[in-house]
């Protein structure tokens, strides 16, 4: 159902998903499929919130320290698999 994760593409938080700040990071709730996911680091929350302003995942990852990029890439892949983040639509793309 969800398209394969492509770090070369731009992603954004699914409009059907709300992020609730938590001491450990955030709780993500998908209003469509009613699933919960947990973002287990505040830095990851920032990354996810800011995804929409980057033209691709790899570009967004440059905002976090190099040592953690692989881990966050995996986290983003699993968020994409859970439909929490989705490819940017044409209208929401930024130049």
């Amino acid at each position: 159902m969800t398209a394969p994760f492509e770090p070369g593409r731009g992603y954004e938080l699914n409009p059907a998903v709300a992020l609730r700040p938590e001491p450990f990071g955030a709780l993500a709730y998908h209003f469509g499929n009613r699933r919960l996911s947990f973002l287990k680091a505040p830095e990851l929350v920032e990354l996810v919130r800011g995804l929409g302003s980057h033209r691709c995942i790899s570009d967004a990852l440059t905002t976090v320290p190099e040592g953690r990029r692989d881990a966050y890439l995996r986290a983003l892949a699993s968020l994409a698999a859970a439909d929490m983040i989705v490819p940017q639509t044409a209208t929401s793309e930024v130049a």
Partner: protein, 402 residues
């Protein structure tokens, strides 16, 4: 918990999620909200000793303001129960209000109001889920606990939901000594209605305290439940209620494996009192009331009881047990209402420590804080016995209104 947790960040950098949860969350994940103590049934194991409406129950306006607050706190859904929640005249109005405010509702019902028309309306409503209670896959076993006619009522409701195309509604079963052998039958019933089976643990809470000694599963049955869940766990919900069985070893059951009381779980009762969990309606676990200044948010964030529950527990007598990390000492409410110390073994400890601790408990068990049971009494008039209500309106909250 009926949640799908995903490890989304590198495990080496942050403690396991379950460790994070022990310190509590900004808002509950699993909030049970009982909308009324009124119920048309008198189930022998009722956790909340329901039956008669409490005159102090939250008004429609108060209910709405709690919903507003839940929305602000981003509580994305609530588990509504009772009593029989659909008995409230404003039930459907409040359901709509909650959904419109992005607080989804899963409500538990014995099926009373789920006629064909209502089932169709529910099937057409997003963001609502229905959980029909059934404690036997056969009429005899169900009605012995839930009362005459309750099996037919539940089955009719399920038929209506299925016919209306309501997919994946829940069939919720409390596991007892008599229905453990019916696990496969329950699963078949769920398949028949395109529903999902949910099984939970019998707690000695409310009226459940009276029947727990005779009704709770035997040691052998506990092992059967565990192995059945190991085989079918991916399709069956448990409300995380069997985590004490993880001490049986092997693969842990899906779920948080944690007592969530005051950490990720709590209860708002029909009069607005907030308790640490739905199985602990007793002053010892009352954290406050939504009617006080600051409302529910203040209770959740600042109640001294919740702060205490969010600290690390000592493990007490269980600490030296090899299974402690697997079972975490079990269920707080089950211990409390059977007279066991909270830092000791669960009464159904699979290592047998609970049974030996229970044998040392004297009389004077703590009783549920509130009792709204119907005031009828069993009068033996030969066979069958007849229930005699003290007043007509005690028989059913609907008496005279139909």
């Amino acid at each position: 918990m009926t949640i799908a947790s995903r490890q989304t960040a590198p495990a080496e950098r942050v403690p396991a999620l379950v460790e994070q949860f022990k310190g509590g969350l900004a808002a509950p994940i699993c909030l049970t909200w009982e909308w009324t103590y009124a119920c048309n049934l008198s189930c022998t194991h009722c956790l909340s000793s329901s039956g008669r409406r409490d005159p102090g129950e939250l008004t429609t306006a108060e209910m709405r303001s709690v919903i507003d607050e839940l929305r602000a706190m981003q509580v994305f859904y609530v588990n509504v129960g009772g009593g029989e929640p659909t008995v409230r005249p404003d039930f459907w109005e409040l359901l709509d209000y909650s959904i419109a405010n992005q607080v989804g509702v899963k409500f538990s019902t014995n099926g009373l109001r789920l006629d064909a028309e209502r089932a169709q309306r529910l099937a057409a409503t997003d963001y609502v889920d229905v959980q029909v209670s059934l404690d036997g896959a056969s009429r005899e076993i169900n009605d012995a606990v839930r009362g005459d006619g309750s099996y037919s009522m539940a089955l009719r409701a399920m038929e209506n939901l299925a016919e209306a195309g309501f997919k994946n509604f829940k069939i919720s079963v409390v596991m007892t000594r008599h229905n453990v052998p019916q696990l496969d039958d329950f699963a078949a019933l769920a398949d028949r209605f395109a529903a999902q089976l949910r099984i939970t643990r019998l707690r000695p809470s409310g009226r459940g305290a009276d029947v727990w000694p005779e009704l709770h599963p035997t040691d052998q049955q506990q092992r059967e439940i565990y192995s059945w869940l190991t085989d079918h766990g991916d399709r069956v919900l448990t409300g995380d209620s069997f985590f004490h069985l993880n001490a049986l070893g092997g693969s842990p059951l899906p779920g948080l494996n944690l007592c969530g009381a005051g950490r990720v779980v709590c209860l708002i009762d029909p009069v607005g009192d907030v308790y640490a969990c739905p199985f602990a309606i007793h002053d010892a676990f009352k954290a406050g009331t939504v009617r006080a200044p600051g409302g529910f948010a203040r209770v959740w964030r600042s109640a001294p009881l919740f702060a205490e529950l969010r600290t690390e527990t000592s493990g007490g007598a269980c600490r030296s047990c090899s299974a402690y990390s697997a079972c975490q000492g079990g269920c707080m409410a089950a211990k409390f209402f059977t007279g066991l110390p909270l830092d000791g073994p669960d009464p159904e400890c699979v290592k047998g420590h609970g049974a030996s601790a229970l044998s040392a408990v004297g009389g004077g068990l703590p009783r549920a804080g509130t009792d709204h049971s119907h005031r009828s009494r069993e009068v033996p008039l030969g066979m069958p016995s007849v229930r005699v209500p003290a007043k007509l309106c005690d028989l059913s909250p609907l008496a005279g209104t139909a």
